[in-house]
């Protein structure tokens, strides 16, 4: 076991034991579970020399010993999958996937695995900090005297996600895999703690869907900041993945310039959907509804409807209610998922649907919508236009959002307070 801080600055000796410089940095190749050390940077008279790991016969807290006499003193060129531990990782911020927070690297722990040295863990505990300050020994003595432990905390390299710009440049090998597996709300909280450029770096590495989910969890101002910092093409792709009602709210907040550019880059029908939603007043049912719902013609049978659900499910916001429309697209009835499943497969749905569905008009106020949702205990309420055409649905979560205190018009600065979604 070796800590990076123990190796840095130690002498490098050649085969004969003659000093040729000091350890300036270690290089690891990213990609494996535990990245192997592939090279060492030696500082010699203010110049940095890169040595391949093959030429190093030993490295420990006493320094490095070389196994070859021939030294390749070519200047170090970073390969795309390589990072320098001290320069690129030490003291930087990383995401602790397990703990779901952003922490700073105090030290890096290297271990011998199958005969070669690998980066295995990041030291984020007090002991690492004390070691770097050069007072770990005395501190431990005092702590022992007081019968106290020095807190140690390591994060397995597997559970680490580096977010720094310098490392993001090698993002091919930093796929932010761990981050993508977090719950969008947790991911949003983490992204909220990062600086602006780091945020864009993280978003860049996520797939469109994960990025859309995470952005959907953020406060409106943060959403706008991020979207405007992204490449317009990417922003358009992410918007397509978001629920249209969320996307419409977000697009409405963008600057005129970005809005036009991004909408132009979105797929045509998605962009139209968003634009249509934007036309509704924010405080009406139309303004908070989503157009992603399940509607089927009333001539279908139960079995056909279930098949249709299987096709549509990935897009719809809720499938607990299936709306039934007549040939003109007017709302004719509603089915619950339970109705569908317990009915015989061959029965036509119009036979057993609830044919007096509760609905609200697109122009209904959000207060009215919330009241309807609450009174009838609905998970979603359909929204219809003046002729009764089904335009969208308002889900219960969106209805609840309207009850929460509205953020003040101007963005509140958040120094001292990382209130991820508090403004919503």
């Amino acid at each position: 076991m070796l800590y990076l801080s123990q190796a840095i600055g130690r002498p490098v000796r050649d085969q004969q034991g003659e000093p040729i410089g000091s350890v300036a940095d270690l290089i690891v190749a990213i990609g494996d579970k535990y990245p192997p050390v592939t090279g060492i940077v030696v500082k010699n008279n203010g110049r940095e020399i890169f040595l391949h790991w093959n030429s190093v016969s030993a490295l420990d807290a006493a320094g490095a010993t070389l196994g070859t006499s021939a030294i390749d003193i070519t200047k170090f060129h970073q390969r795309p999958n390589e990072i320098r531990l001290k320069r690129d990782l030490m003291d930087r911020q990383i995401v602790d996937i397990d703990g779901r927070k952003v922490v700073r690297v105090n030290d890096l722990r290297l271990d011998e695995v199958e005969g070669s040295l690998h980066l295995v863990a990041v030291d984020v505990g007090a002991s690492g900090l004390l070691r770097r300050l050069g007072i770990e020994g005395p501190w431990r003595t005092i702590a022992r005297g007081l019968h106290r432990d020095v807190p140690e905390r390591y994060i397995d390299w597997e559970d680490v996600d580096p977010v720094e710009r310098t490392i993001a440049s090698v993002k091919l090998r930093v796929p932010h895999k761990g981050l993508a597996e977090l719950h969008p709300a947790d991911l949003a909280t983490i992204i909220d703690q990062l600086s602006r450029s780091d945020r864009v770096g993280v978003i860049a590495a996520l797939n469109d869907e994960a990025a859309a989910d995470a952005i959907g969890e953020m406060e409106p101002e943060a959403q706008v900041d991020i979207l405007e910092d992204l490449e317009p093409e990417r922003a358009a792709d992410i918007l397509e993945e978001m629920d249209p009602d969320e996307a419409a709210d977000l697009v409405a907040d963008l600057s005129d310039e970005s809005r036009e550019e991004i909408l132009g880059l979105m797929e045509k029908d998605e962009a139209e959907e968003v634009q249509e939603l934007m036309e509704y007043d924010e405080d009406t049912a139309g303004g908070i509804m989503t157009t992603e719902f399940v509607a089927v013609p009333k001539s279908l049978t139960a079995a056909q409807t279930i098949d249709r659900l299987r096709e549509l499910e990935p897009k719809a916001e809720t499938i607990y209610y299936v709306y039934v429309t007549d040939s003109d697209g007017r709302l004719a009835g509603v089915l619950s998922l339970r109705d569908l499943i317990v009915s015989k497969p061959n029965v036509v749905i119009s036979k057993f649907m609830f044919d007096e569905p509760v609905a609200v008009q697109t122009g209904a106020s959000t207060a009215e919508v919330t009241e309807v949702v609450a009174r009838y205990n609905l998970l979603a309420v359909p929204v219809v236009d003046g002729e009764g055409h089904l335009e969208g649905i308002v889900t219960v979560d969106d209805a609840i959002d309207t009850l929460l205190p509205q953020p003040t018009k101007r963005r509140l600065p958040r120094l001292f307070s990382r209130s991820g979604q508090a403004d919503r």
């Binding site: 952003v102 700073r104 105090n106 770097r132 300050l133 869907e209 994960a210 509140l412 600065p413 958040r414």
Partner: protein
């Protein structure tokens, strides 16, 4: 991954937004406004009461240096999106970060002690014991930390701040100061060999340009997610903040010069009567109510400082060491952050209990001097970081800004050295 229908973050409901207090104004304005805390008001008052108009030039120089240091701090925040302490750690390693934070924390503890002393002095003027002031100050910090309702607090702060400024402005005018002398002293430095002269100079500079102000402006800009495109706006904000701060300071100083200094009253900063004497600056305006008015203003100014300095200090330290920071966290989740806060409050409170009530003014002055002496240790990092092209990109300090910045830093070192030499000789 689907969003669960009933997903509401349990914490989202009652989060605390401390920064709401500062939301009305820009970072530069807030930072400038908070410079006129208890230490600030007292220092400017003593400077005017002891040396008349002579120290006005110090205010002008301070204002120029304040503008440039705040501008650099804001620019660092704009370019990197990071706070000062975290940036120092990334560029220069743990040891330098620990060094800078230590210097900053010592200065900040001094500032917090000064706010407590301000509360103490204010309540003694009202006829209470000074420990009541310390108690009030401690309660204020705890309330600020645990209660989130800053909406009304900020308005009270701003109102009281403006009220105090107006009071001094009117009082200064009513005292019929020597305006020619005022203008003259503003641009022509008058040196003096009187005892206490350099103490007053260093304290005046130290209360205007502060280590915490430097950390504050950068973190604030970064946390507001402002970027390089906001450079012009930030410069205006910072410039306006520096101007406003020093305008208020100048009126305090002139009011004291006209009402107290001209009356040939000797001020002994170590005497119990010192607070009452500098309160006399408000006599032309308030007559016999001057003391009460000053006490209220001083109390409000202390609260202003208490609302910003302890948080900024704990924030900077935790940022560099990667600890949870901010009032969103519960006590158990962010032990270092709350631990530091408890330390600040406890230290300042005990200090005020030990110090005799008569020395409170001297305590406030000394805290400002400590700020000035430790400031170069922070500014050196700020200046070096701001000239790092890889870090700053297009926002890197140009030659002119670098020269001015380093000159300002050098000036502070010379000032501190002069103070040390003159106090020994």
């Amino acid at each position: 991954m689907r969003k669960p229908v009933f997903a509401l973050s349990p914490r989202a409901a009652n989060r605390v937004r401390l920064a709401a207090i500062l939301s009305v104004l820009g970072p530069g304005l807030v930072s400038g406004f908070a410079d006129n805390d208890a230490g600030g008001i007292t220092t400017y008052s003593v400077a005017g009461a002891q040396f008349g108009y002579d120290l006005l030039w110090v205010l002008l120089v301070s204002q120029i240096v304040l503008f440039f240091t705040q501008e650099v701090g804001a620019r660092l925040g704009l370019a990197t999106g990071q706070g000062l302490a975290g940036l120092v750690r990334e560029r220069y390693g743990v040891r330098w970060a620990a060094f800078m934070i230590t210097a900053m924390l010592i200065a900040n503890v001094g500032s917090i002690v000064a706010e407590f002393a301000g509360c103490g002095a204010a309540v003694t003027l009202m006829g209470f014991q000074s420990w009541i002031g310390a108690l009030i100050a401690a309660v204020v910090v705890v309330v600020l930390l645990t209660r989130g309702s800053y909406k009304w607090v900020q308005y009270i702060f701003v109102a009281v701040g403006i009220g105090v400024s107006l009071a001094y402005f009117v009082s200064a005018v009513m005292a019929h100061p020597d305006w020619g002398r005022t203008a003259n002293s503003l641009v022509i430095p008058r040196l003096s060999s009187l005892p206490g002269y350099w103490v007053a100079v260093v304290a005046t500079v130290g209360t205007t340009i502060t280590p915490w102000g430097q950390a504050f402006i950068q973190s604030y800009v970064a946390d507001k997610r402002l970027g390089p495109e906001d450079l012009v706006g930030e410069r205006i904000d910072v410039g306006f903040g520096a101007l406003l701060t020093n305008l208020i300071a100048a009126f305090i100083l002139v009011a004291c010069a006209a009402a107290v200094f001209s009356a040939h009253t000797q001020i002994d900063t170590n005497s119990p009567g010192a607070v009452g004497q500098i309160a006399g600056a408000l006599t032309p305006l308030a007559g016999s109510a001057a003391t009460a008015l000053f006490a209220i203003g001083l109390l409000a100014a202390s609260f202003l400082g208490l609302g910003v300095v302890p948080l900024t200090s704990a924030y900077a330290a935790c940022e560099a060491f990667g600890w949870e920071t901010g009032v969103d966290w519960r006590m158990r989740e962010a032990p270092a952050f709350y631990g530091l806060m408890i330390f600040f409050v406890a230290f300042a409170a005990i200090f005020i209990l030990i110090v005799p009530a008569g020395s409170l003014v001297q305590v406030m002055l000394t805290a400002q001097m400590v700020n000035c002496i430790l400031l170069p240790f922070v500014l050196v990092f700020v200046m070096r970081l701001s000239s790092d092209r890889t870090l700053m990109g297009p926002l890197v300090s140009g030659r002119f800004l670098l020269i001015v910045g380093w000159l300002g830093t050098a000036l502070l070192v010379v000032l501190s050295a002069t103070l040390l030499v003159t106090s020994i000789v």
